[in-house]
Symmetry: C2
Subunit: 362 residues, 2 copies
DNA sequence: TTGTAGGCGTTATCAA
DNA sequence: TTGATAACGCCTACAA
């Protein structure tokens, strides 16, 4: 049970009287060994309890199968869910993920990237927003941006414009008199800017009264709540009686708004219709399940990893690195029509089981 | 701009007419070089755009600075927050994290662990529950379990017993007639079992009517909701009029229950007092901020990483590996008294800014 | 202060 | 089908 040195190919070689080359081949080209030899080596590996050392392999072969991931934060569940789905692609692609949280700190993120490069990551998936894609593009490794500024690197994004358009259309369909979009100030370079555009375009094209309210949101629940209270107070005085369709920039904010309204009224008044964005778990788990323009998070993750892997593959084949222009994949959003816009009115709000046959205790 | 071979110490050495040993020393023992030599090498590194290769370093020196992490799932925000805090310790300890999601799949997790070991991780933090600690202990690397069965490995846990005790005490203090604890069936080996024990002990010691309801929770919001509806229906018929203090196993479930009650009543009746566990972000962001027995998540993460790192350090110093018995750190919980038990009654439920002009109900 | 030589554990190349 | 040898890029003696 002593902490002996780790068993290596050399040990296996000596034990079996093969060379370590042959042992190596057992793993990489097993067919080139006789069945007998394979068996012998297999037994030896078992007997000596061999544990693979991929670090040595990396040095020899140059492939780490590491992908670096930089997540901006975990306040929005969108990111934890996206990370979840990214990590889950291990089963599909076999790549491992080195994960950092950016916390909106540009200098920090630069250090993280340096570290990732030092560990010879083969590609990187960037969810954080601080570092411009131009800088990322100079890293000379395959990079895929997800829902962030992506001019100079590959990316996978939801079709935000269509999403914003759909949101407006859906609210309009609910007979709203006034459509409102609440968002943070968003640079045009971010894909999320499309949400604003799509919303506005729909409203203009259909001549629907609307306004876009831009505030410094997405800080914390309490701060967002304070901001939204002001907005709602304002609406209550200026738009009393009008049916307001509110499109929030994300489900987290939508949830905050919903909570606020339900606290005021005990339910969500028909006068307010709410739709969020992302289809983050938040939206399903809200006091009233929130309608949302769903990002296909699992698909986004798969496409993102797939795209990185594809780029890695191409590069490995000698294809020029930055020759081709960046690929931008676009994933369509999906409307989830839930209680904050359609399904249930305030009178059907009660939640109870048909007939209870249930017992207690343990 | 061509994808030339990467620059190595050899290149720097040739360029500067030093040996690569000297270049190596520039990084590891800079004081052993003249200031002048340092400058020369520094310039060369800059000029040739040297990028560190830690893989080679690992092979030479045997230290990866990798810690493997296995998270069970992301349904409970407790885990994403814990992961967040673990990742954030990079700034403090410098260790990088290879992250896998277990998804409650024992075989999968075994494969992940194999992979992690192949990458020469120096230690592992295990949040998932599937693999017994006895098996983990045989891995011959420092392991820290967090809030899971931990008999044979080091661990960091919240003082669950005290937490359960406090929860009961707090509910009792709110003049509840009947205390109820809702949980999943929990093996005694899990730290979380202490929540049940603590709750029951308090109730017995103080002769408070109570019951423990064990159901197969923690699957999904909808499933949990269905289960809770049955439970509430039951309580409504059997305990009508009694003030019920309900202690939920975690904030996620507490949130589900709260939503359900608020949907029935438009507010949280005084007849129901609710307290959760974890102080996951969920609890603050619920329709009514949920009182909770808070786990000090940031501290848990720090202690967990710190403990792994400490073990790594000791091992490096030749101290026997598994000689010492596993260390179990215990972190006290913190009661967060919020609206579901104390702060606000249903009449003060409205949320508006000071000058607010809001209406009530219908 | 600096250099030489060998090793870390694997794979690639060339022979046999 | 197998083996010997030289990488991969860095670090650690030991020497100078």
């Amino acid at each position: 049970m002593e902490s002996k040195k780790r068993v290596t190919f050399d040990d296996i070689a000596k034990y079996t009287n093969f060379s370590k080359t042959t042992v190596s081949r057992y793993f990489n080209k097993p067919d080139s060994l006789t069945a007998e030899s394979q068996q012998i080596i297999s037994d030896a590996l078992e007997k000596l309890d061999y544990q693979a050392n991929k670090v040595a392999r990396i040095l020899a072969v140059g492939k780490t199968e590491f992908i670096g991931v930089i997540v901006p934060e975990f306040y929005h569940r969108y990111y934890s869910e996206l990370l979840n789905q990214i990590l889950s692609t291990y089963e599909q692609f076999g790549y491992k993920f080195l994960v950092f949280v950016g916390n909106n700190n540009k200098e920090g993120e630069r250090r993280y990237i340096k570290e990732l490069l030092a560990y010879q990551i083969e590609g990187m998936i960037v969810l954080s927003h601080t570092i411009p894609s131009q800088e990322l593009a100079q890293l000379e490794i395959p990079i895929v941006a997800v829902e962030r500024e992506d001019q100079f690197v590959c990316s996978v994004n939801t079709d935000n414009y269509t999403g914003g358009y759909q949101a407006a259309a859906h609210l309009a369909q609910q007979q709203c008199d006034l459509l409102i979009h609440i968002n943070s100030p968003t640079p045009e370079s971010k894909p999320a800017f499309g949400r604003i555009q799509g919303f506005e375009d729909y409203c203009r094209q259909h001549e629907i009264p609307h306004q876009v309210i831009l505030r410094d949101l997405d800080r914390s629940y309490e701060k967002d709540q304070a901001i939204l209270i002001h907005i709602v107070d304002d609406l209550e005085s200026t738009c009393k009686g009008k049916k307001k369709g509110i499109f929030l920039a994300n489900d987290t904010t939508a949830n905050t708004l919903l909570n606020l309204l339900v606290r005021r009224y005990g339910y969500l008044p028909q006068e307010y219709r709410i739709i969020g964005f992302d289809n983050a778990p938040t939206s399903r788990e809200a006091i009233f399940p929130i309608s949302t323009i769903g990002q296909q998070i699992e698909l986004l993750a798969q496409e993102a990893v797939g795209l990185v892997v594809e780029q890695i593959r191409q590069r490995k084949q000698g294809t020029p690195l930055s020759a081709a222009p960046p690929i931008h994949k676009v994933i369509p959003p999906i409307l989830f029509c839930r209680e904050t816009t359609c399904k249930v009115g305030p009178t059907q709000v009660l939640l109870s089981s048909p007939a209870g046959t249930q017992s207690n205790r343990a």
